[in-house]
């Protein structure tokens, strides 16, 4: 049986340049998958293809048995640069998303529901502020609230915390971890923060450098949930995972880039499960 999301042989080609090709992977319902790789390997393009904002030069994506042809409310995106509308308050930004999901709802209902979603990310007190009056972390919280508000089947996150300072990033990672685990939310996130991937992901896709990037291997995150950020590095197995990803990013992403190893099957990249 096919997984909930099935990415089937997508590629991005420009004349004379193949950014990535033969990318195959699946995401199960309720699973959190992180994609890790260096800049330039086409991570954002892959996310945009999943979102329906971009289309692949080759291959396709099947979600819930249907090939996607464009953006849909089922797949909410948390953008890298929050992408809030600066002329709307936090509540109105969330309300706009809600009004797209529920066109029949009146103003009062939208207000109430938007506030409820903002409360989930701890921003009820800032509901009436415009983005200019919010800190970077608060803006991204509103971005997450907006994505959650439409009750998507899948959340797509493009390095959502990369612009934030370490402290804020930490608390937001915990927030996302809590929210997605609570709701059994299917999620796909791009990151190059190793700890972030270990904290959040069930599986971590490791991508080689571009051009002609591909998924080199799939690392299974064996750390049990719930994972607490503060104590994550004390958990047995954490250092093994971290070292594996770091080694990959520092050397193997480069050495594996040109020629795939013997017996490599792009449809079924090697699954790595570290021994405890």
């Amino acid at each position: 049986m096919k997984p909930y999301v099935s990415v089937e042989g997508i590629a991005r080609r420009f004349p004379g340049l193949t950014v990535f090709q033969d990318v195959w992977f699946g995401i199960a319902r309720g699973e959190f998958v992180c994609l890790v790789g260096h800049s330039g390997c086409g991570k954002t393009t892959i996310l945009n293809i999943l979102a329906g904002l971009d289309s692949p030069s080759d291959g396709g994506v099947v979600v819930d048995g249907q090939e996607i042809t464009g953006p849909a409310l089922d797949r909410a995106v948390v953008f890298q640069g929050h992408a809030l509308m600066p002329w709307l308050t936090a509540e109105q930004n969330v309300g706009f998303a809600l009004s797209c999901r529920k066109p029949g709802w009146g103003r009062a209902r939208l207000r109430e529901e938007a506030r409820a979603v903002l409360a989930k990310v701890g921003l009820e007190h800032a509901a009436d502020r415009k983005p200019a009056m919010l800190s970077g972390g608060m803006k991204q919280r509103v971005g997450i609230a907006r994505a959650l508000a439409v009750q998507p089947k899948m959340m797509l996150m493009d390095e959502p915390f990369s612009a934030l300072d370490a402290l804020t990033r930490g608390s937001l990672q915990e927030e996302v971890s809590r929210l997605t685990t609570e709701a059994g939310q299917t999620a796909f996130m791009i990151t190059h923060d190793v700890d972030e991937a270990i904290l959040l992901a069930d599986r971590i896709l490791l991508m080689t450098n571009g051009p002609e990037a591909r998924i080199a291997e799939v690392l299974v995150n064996t750390l049990p949930r719930p994972r607490i950020r503060a104590t994550l590095h004390h958990q047995p197995g954490y250092h093994g995972l971290r070292d594996h990803i770091m080694d990959f990013l520092v050397t193997r992403s480069r050495t594996l880039a040109g020629a795939p190893p013997e017996g490599y099957d792009p449809r079924d990249p090697p699954i790595v499960r570290l021994a405890e």
Partner: protein, 282 residues
């Protein structure tokens, strides 16, 4: 630049005004004392009253202008026949024409600019026409307007329309075409639909740029109405200026200049307020 207290700036403004008006007043007094003798008596007899002033209409002094201004403002809305109406009435006529022409232009330019901004094809196709027509002085349209419309008052409104349409059209198209990609992507992932995206995302995003265009337009329209009314005549502050020139009442012309300036300022400030209202800050 350092911020200065408002009262300091206001005080300096008043001082400059006082010096300017004082110099004007004094210069005219000195001039009047010197001249006026070398006139042929026969010519003086022909000229009659004017001869006492040396055969020339003297430049009015600020004090005389102030007296005249008081006269005009005491009863700005009187109507004593077609050629003798209060200055308030004249300004109202001009304002009416400007607002009507400007509003029609806005109704045409903003939706059209929206479509042009959304469609790169239309943008490229219409651009040559806009580029050629935009630099044409609106008064050049006057003969064509008079010929086709055959009504001078409507022709003036048409001239206002044609001069205020370009900045609004171009700014709207520019603002709409340059709406941040990421906001459009948000709308797309939310399946917001064309209308919801247009009104809830693109319009507010482009509103400050559109308002800038409207501000430029109303400024140009107010500049042009004076010239247009000098041509078509009948009513309006432009006609009034021309009429007072024919009457050689220079004081009235100075007052008209002041009025035109103040009304133009008010129009600009009014749109400035709207612009503040739609402005957003990242």
């Amino acid at each position: 630049m350092q911020a200065v207290p408002a009262w300091k700036a206001a005080l300096l403004s008043l001082a400059i005004l006082a010096v300017f008006l004082g110099a004007w007043e004094l210069a005219l007094k000195a001039g009047a004392a010197g001249g006026g003798a070398a006139i042929d008596p026969e010519y003086a007899a022909l000229l009659g009253q004017a001869a006492q002033q040396g055969g020339r209409t003297p430049m009015p002094a600020p004090s005389q202008i102030a007296v005249r201004l008081w006269e005009l403002l005491r009863d700005p809305f009187y109507v004593r026949g077609p050629n003798d109406q209060g200055i308030g009435i004249q300004v109202a006529w001009s304002l009416g024409r400007v607002l009507l022409g400007f509003l029609i232009a806005a109704v045409v330019a903003i939706p059209l600019g929206f479509v042009i901004g959304m469609s790169p094809l239309l943008n490229a196709a219409l651009n040559p026409f806009i580029q050629v027509l935009r630099p044409v002085s609106p008064l050049a349209w006057m003969p064509l307007a008079l010929f086709t419309i055959q009504d001078s008052s409507i022709s003036a409104i048409f001239v206002i329309f044609i001069c205020s349409i370009w900045p609004m059209l171009m700014n709207t198209a520019f603002g709409v075409a340059n709406v941040r990609r990421e906001w459009l992507n948000v709308a797309r992932t939310l399946e917001a639909g064309t209308w919801r995206t247009a009104f809830r995302v693109i319009l507010p995003a482009a509103a400050p740029t559109i308002l800038t265009g409207m501000r430029i337009s109303i400024g140009i329209a107010w500049l042009v109405i004076v010239a247009a009314e000098m041509l078509v005549g009948g009513t309006g502050i432009g006609y009034w200026v021309w009429n007072q020139w024919n009457n050689l009442s220079l004081a009235d012309i100075v007052i008209a200049i002041l009025m035109i300036g103040l009304v133009g300022l008010a129009l600009d400030r009014l749109l400035g307020l709207v612009q503040r209202w739609v402005a957003w800050q990242e």
